[in-house]
């Protein structure tokens, strides 16, 4: 199978899938925080592994990554990626603990990390529900796996399945912006990395059979 030459039509389809998912996720997050959420048009990129790291600021960039395995007919991996400040901001909003910091302070972080897991659950759940409804493919997210570490270290975990087959990953990227008049805002990134065998299923479900 060759993914390097996706037709622009196929890219549009994947983009639209991302759009629908992001729309749902943005709505959930908006309800959760009681704030207006903006989403931008996602991009679909075919990138090498090193480029993938560069997309989020290089392999050494410290990120908060929530990984979900997708179980069901079209397995894959979803990442919700937040910058450290963004994750802290979200937790502060959700727990009303204005002093929360991921690395400093001695307070018990269990509650805050649990809040992060829950944010991931809600946002990713609604994202996958949208995908699943649209494609009529059964997709179930696993429990969230939280990692706070270097981008390179966290992201390669999601590339392992794909790396046995190809040296590139298709990223359906989605940005969600929290827009209020205050300076602080968040910009979450979704990376949807379908396993290689899932692409034909997704294209078929959408009625595109000429994906070869």
């Amino acid at each position: 199978m060759e993914y390097l030459h996706l037709t622009s039509y196929q890219k549009d389809v994947l983009k639209e899938i991302g759009n629908i998912g992001a729309g749902n996720a943005a709505t959930s997050l908006s309800k959760l925080l009681d704030k207006k959420i903006e989403m931008n048009v996602p991009s679909v990129n075919v990138v090498g592994y090193d480029e993938l790291m560069e997309l989020i600021g290089g392999p050494e960039e410290i990120i908060v990554g929530l990984l979900f395995r997708i179980h069901g007919e079209a397995p894959g991996t979803v990442y919700l990626i937040l910058k450290v400040e963004e994750a802290e901001y979200l937790v502060r909003q959700l727990t009303n603990d204005q002093d929360f910091s991921l690395f400093e302070g001695k307070q018990d972080k269990e509650m805050s990390l649990s809040a992060l897991h829950e944010i991931g659950n809600i946002v990713t759940g609604s994202y996958l529900t949208a995908l699943s409804d649209f494609t009529k493919i059964n997709m179930q997210p696993s429990v969230p796996y939280l990692g706070i570490d270097m981008a390179g270290a966290l992201l390669t975990a999601g590339l392992l399945e794909i790396s046995k087959v190809i040296d590139y990953a298709i990223i359906i990227d989605t940005e969600i912006k929290l827009d209020d008049q205050v300076k602080e805002g968040i910009k979450g990134n979704f990376f949807l990395l379908p396993d290689p065998e899932s692409f034909p299923k997704i294209f078929e479900a959408l009625g595109i059979n000429d994906h070869e």
């Binding site: 592994y49 090193d50 790291m53 290089g58 392999p59 050494e60 410290i62 990984l67 395995r69 690395f103 696993s142 429990v143 796996y145 990692g147 706070i148 570490d149 270097m150 981008a151 390179g152 270290a153 966290l154 992201l155 390669t156 975990a157 590339l159 392992l160 399945e161 790396s163 046995k164 087959v165 190809i166 040296d167 290689p196």
Partner: protein, 165 residues
């Protein structure tokens, strides 16, 4: 190859060489393993950033040999020998092989860090290259930098002081 005092960067599933006074580094090792093979007297070193343990698991016709432990290490050794290193003098230092996420399901893919480390050690012993030191396992990412002048491997982890092995 690099003869000036610069840092040679090695990407994922890639390898490269350096001669003192330069250094060589790779960033964001998670389950991947960084293998440094060097000739201390000739002050030449090679670094390989290995993603997977075994090329026989590949489902590709044309594989990238730098991606797998069993193929990348021989490539690295050959390229060192071609550039003046001596087979008998080769030593190794390794780092990485962490498990970044504690998956509950027991899929083999999820144990990839330890499997990478095992595969690397196995291949090195097959080639009679002894491992001088290593820092592997755990659930943390690592950035490593090797200086062929001193033979020190610098390891940086998130929110930890750098240290040398």
């Amino acid at each position: 190859m690099n003869k000036t005092s610069t840092v040679v960067k090695v990407g994922i599933a890639d390898l490269n060489l350096v001669i003192a006074p330069g250094t060589i580094r790779t960033s964001g090792l998670g389950s991947c393993v960084g293998v440094v093979i060097y000739d201390a007297t000739k002050k030449i070193a090679g670094l390989s950033h290995i993603l997977l343990p075994d090329s026989s698991a590949a489902k590709q016709v044309k594989i990238n040999p730098f991606k797998y432990a069993d193929t990348a290490i021989p490539c690295l050794v050959n390229s060192l020998l071609e550039n003046g290193a001596r087979k008998f003098a080769l030593k190794a230092k390794i780092a990485g092989g962490a498990q970044m996420f504690q998956f509950s399901s027991g899929s083999d893919m999820m144990r990839i860090g330890p499997r990478n480390t095992e595969a690397v050690e196995h291949k090195l012993s097959e080639l009679n290259i002894s491992v001088i030191s290593m820092d592997v396992g755990g659930n943390v990412g690592r950035t490593i930098e090797f200086d062929p002048q001193t033979g020190n491997l610098k390891i940086k982890k998130v929110n930890k002081e750098e240290f040398f092995i």
